[in-house]
């Protein structure tokens, strides 16, 4: 059974249809990479899955349970409580990190545990240290975000999400704002997470990473999934012309060998 699923998701902004009926199932422990040209709706899809955007129609199911209830007219209604609970279980990492600049690294990871999960300060601190250690930043707990490099900030953001102990993690171009030499450390963290069996949906332009880490790759074009399959099927033997065109655009792409670290 799938951990998280999108069923016929549509999303329009004013008159623009951005998502035109997306179906996507992600199994427990599966790592799925979402590819697509700029403006194809990748971010919008991710944001619909944790309801940072409200889908215009369609359903999201988490662990087999549908989110929201349809009203008499068939429109989905979501309660505030329900959405907060869903978001606790679906972590998200943003391109711009979005750490809380007024809090230390440790408190960045603690605050939602305290305020949302109601954990005690001691327990939240213990969990924060555990996850910061996991992303290799145990020695930075008392720094403020502004004093960290981009790569370190993004790893704190990952720890902040992980500390909620989510069932699913969404990554929206987590490395796109980073200097090239800092990309590796974040990708490595994501790769480790995938190896530990986290359910992940990743938007990235790092095709080498996608090739090595994804179990499945999904290609989105103008709001519709037009092709999906194993990394080999999509990246090496794409069928759709759109996918081929997209891959041609990534001229620097070369297939790394599996033993190369992503």
């Amino acid at each position: 059974m799938s951990m998280i699923a999108a069923r016929n998701i549509h999303k329009s902004f004013q008159s623009q249809d951005v998502l035109k009926g997306v179906d996507l199932d992600i199994g427990k422990g599966e790592t799925v990479v979402l590819l697509g040209a700029s403006g194809s709706g990748k971010s919008t899809l991710l944001r619909c899955l944790n309801f940072l955007e409200m889908p215009t129609s369609g359903e999201v199911c988490l662990d087999g349970k549908r989110v929201g209830t349809p009203d008499a007219g068939g429109r989905m209604r979501y309660s505030e409580t329900e959405l907060c609970q869903l978001r606790q279980r679906v972590g998200m990492v943003f391109q711009q990190f979005n750490l809380f600049p007024h809090l230390t690294v440790e408190w960045n990871v603690m605050i939602a545990q305290r305020k949302v999960l109601g954990r005690s300060e001691a327990q939240a601190r213990e969990r924060a240290r555990y996850y910061l250690e996991k992303v290799g930043l145990a020695e930075k707990i008392n720094e403020y975000p502004a004093r960290l490099s981009g790569g370190q900030q993004q790893r704190v953001a990952i720890a902040r999400s992980l500390a909620m102990e989510p069932d699913v993690m969404l990554f929206d171009e987590a490395t796109s704002a980073l200097d090239p030499e800092l990309v590796g450390e974040v990708l490595q963290t994501m790769k480790n997470l995938s190896g530990e069996g986290m359910t992940m949906l990743i938007v990235t332009h790092e095709l080498g990473f996608a090739y090595n880490v994804a179990h499945r790759i999904v290609f989105l074009h103008e709001g519709t999934i037009i092709e999906e399959g194993t990394p080999d099927e999509i990246l090496v033997h794409p069928k759709s012309e759109r996918t081929k065109a997209f891959l041609r655009g990534h001229t620097v792409f070369r297939l790394p060998q599996p033993e190369e670290t992503a």
Partner: protein, 221 residues
């Protein structure tokens, strides 16, 4: 003109002066605390996604920002008893009138700060499962306060100065006590000079605290 200054008589009134200064500080700190809380709540209303709340917030601000503090004070002091038959104390009347007044200013300062904060802060917080209340109180407001500290300090100083208006309804603040002494001793020059110096000293302490806070916050930026 050769005015012969003589401060010595004031020593006999030191308790009266001290009481006045304490009352000034007491009233000002009360107004400061209430005005800040009120301002934060109003700012939350003004950025709410509910149109009714936004409307309530802006009507409030336009109302209380535009009435002179003295008019507000007189209105509460002289009309409330007529309308309701309840005569509230001078402290309560002044505290309420000035809190409502400064709340409108604090609201606008904080709202500016809140709106300058990156959308990503809201999104990251919401994505962690926080409710509007938690995001506002734990993430957005603390950052807005840091950013607007100089403007908030200005308004806090304004609150201290406006508190002297309470002397007009005979609230025994520093100014009112000074007037009592001056009326008894016929030496307004010395009395008002001393009061002016003491009030300025208190406000300087306040600005000093604000700079210290600013310095402390600067470490996280």
């Amino acid at each position: 003109m050769t005015y012969k200054w003589d401060f010595s008589f004031l020593w006999n009134y030191r308790h009266v002066l001290a009481e006045g200064l304490l009352n000034t500080v007491y009233l000002s700190l009360t107004v400061l605390a209430c005005g800040l809380v009120l301002g934060a709540v109003l700012a939350a209303a003004r950025i709410s996604r509910f149109a009714t709340l936004r409307a309530v917030g802006s009507v409030y601000v336009e109302l209380f920002r535009n009435v002179p503090a003295l008019v507000l004070l007189f209105w509460f002091f002289y009309t409330i008893p007529v309308l309701t038959g309840i005569q509230n104390g001078r402290f309560l009347t002044a505290a309420v009138a000035f809190s409502l007044y400064s709340g409108a200013y604090f609201c606008e300062i904080l709202r500016g700060g809140i709106q300058s904060i990156d959308r990503g802060q809201w999104e990251a917080s919401i994505a962690l499962g926080m409710t509007f209340r938690t995001v506002f109180g734990s993430i957005i407001l603390p950052q807005a306060i840091r950013r607007t500290l100089p403007a908030l300090t200005n308004e806090a100083i304004e609150v201290f100065k406006i508190s002297a208006v309470a002397a007009t309804i005979a609230y025994p603040d520093a100014l009112y006590q000074a007037k009592l002494i001056s009326d008894t001793e016929y030496r307004p020059v010395e009395v008002y000079t001393v009061i002016a110096v003491l009030l300025t000293a208190i406000i300087l302490v306040l600005s000093g605290l604000s700079y210290a806070l600013e310095y402390k916050f600067s470490k996280s930026n």
